[in-house]
């Protein structure tokens, strides 16, 4: 299963709820959800466990739009483009959007 979160982690509880239900699955941060991946931000600590296991991704075009360089990302977060988003859904099964 591939989970996506599209909201900022300091604005809504969607990321928190997703992480509470993530178990061993994968998480892709899209839209305003990518702010969670900023290492210097408060929310990035929440990603530490799954990121260390290579299960957290952030959408590149959404990072660029928001002025977040790849060097600013928390350890273990992998950047993918839309092609990578498609591959993640294809490989890891049903999509669950935490809207």
């Amino acid at each position: 299963m591939l989970h996506t979160v599209n909201k900022s982690p300091l604005q809504t509880r969607d990321l928190d709820s997703c992480l509470e239900h993530l178990a061993g699955e994968r998480l892709l941060l899209i839209e305003d959800g990518v702010y969670a991946a900023v290492a210097a931000g408060e929310a990035s600590a929440k990603l530490r466990g799954p990121a260390a296991e290579g299960r957290v991704y952030a959408l590149g075009p959404d990072l660029e739009a928001r002025g977040i360089g790849h060097d600013a990302l928390a350890d273990g977060v992998e950047v993918v483009d839309y092609a990578g988003f498609v591959q993640l859904v294809a490989e890891h099964g049903p999509h669950q959007a935490w809207l």
Binding site: M1, R13, S17, E20, H21, L22, A23, E25, P94, H95, Q96, A97, W98, L99
Partner: protein, 130 residues
């Protein structure tokens, strides 16, 4: 219904979960999720509903949106049983945070803990989140 004919040809039965995480009335998401659930009944799939986070508010008794001119759709949850949709899972932690108990809900539900809810989600073929 031609839709039905199509999928029956394919013979597929999938596990569909409708995930409800939003409060009713503030946005139309909750109401429209229920519309899809009702339609899905015609397709004889393995349908379940999950209520977590603010989605549990959808099941509160006594909702009355008349003064707002909006629809009272909560009673429609009572009709699901007639469509053989009886897997309604409600997350215990979400109820507790909101001071709600299962007895206060408009329909009988299965209260599950967060771990069980995660496991149920992971078993699905299709997840529609609202």
């Amino acid at each position: 219904m031609s839709d039905e004919a199509n999928w029956e040809d394919a013979g597929a039965v999938k596990r569909f979960m409708f995930v409800n995480r939003k409060a009713p009335h503030g946005t139309i998401y909750a109401l429209e999720a229920l519309e899809v659930v009702l339609i899905s009944a015609a397709f004889d799939q393995d349908v379940s509903l999950a209520f977590l986070d603010d989605g549990v508010h959808q099941l509160r008794q006594g909702q009355d949106a008349k003064a707002l001119g909006m629809k009272n759709f909560a009673p429609t949850f009572r009709a699901l049983d007639d469509y053989d949709i009886d897997k309604l899972y409600v997350e215990a932690e979400s109820l507790a945070q909101r001071g709600l108990s299962a007895e206060e809900l408009i329909v009988p539900v299965q209260v599950v803990d967060r771990e069980r809810m995660s496991a149920l989600m992971a078993e699905q073929d299709v997840v529609m989140s609202f």
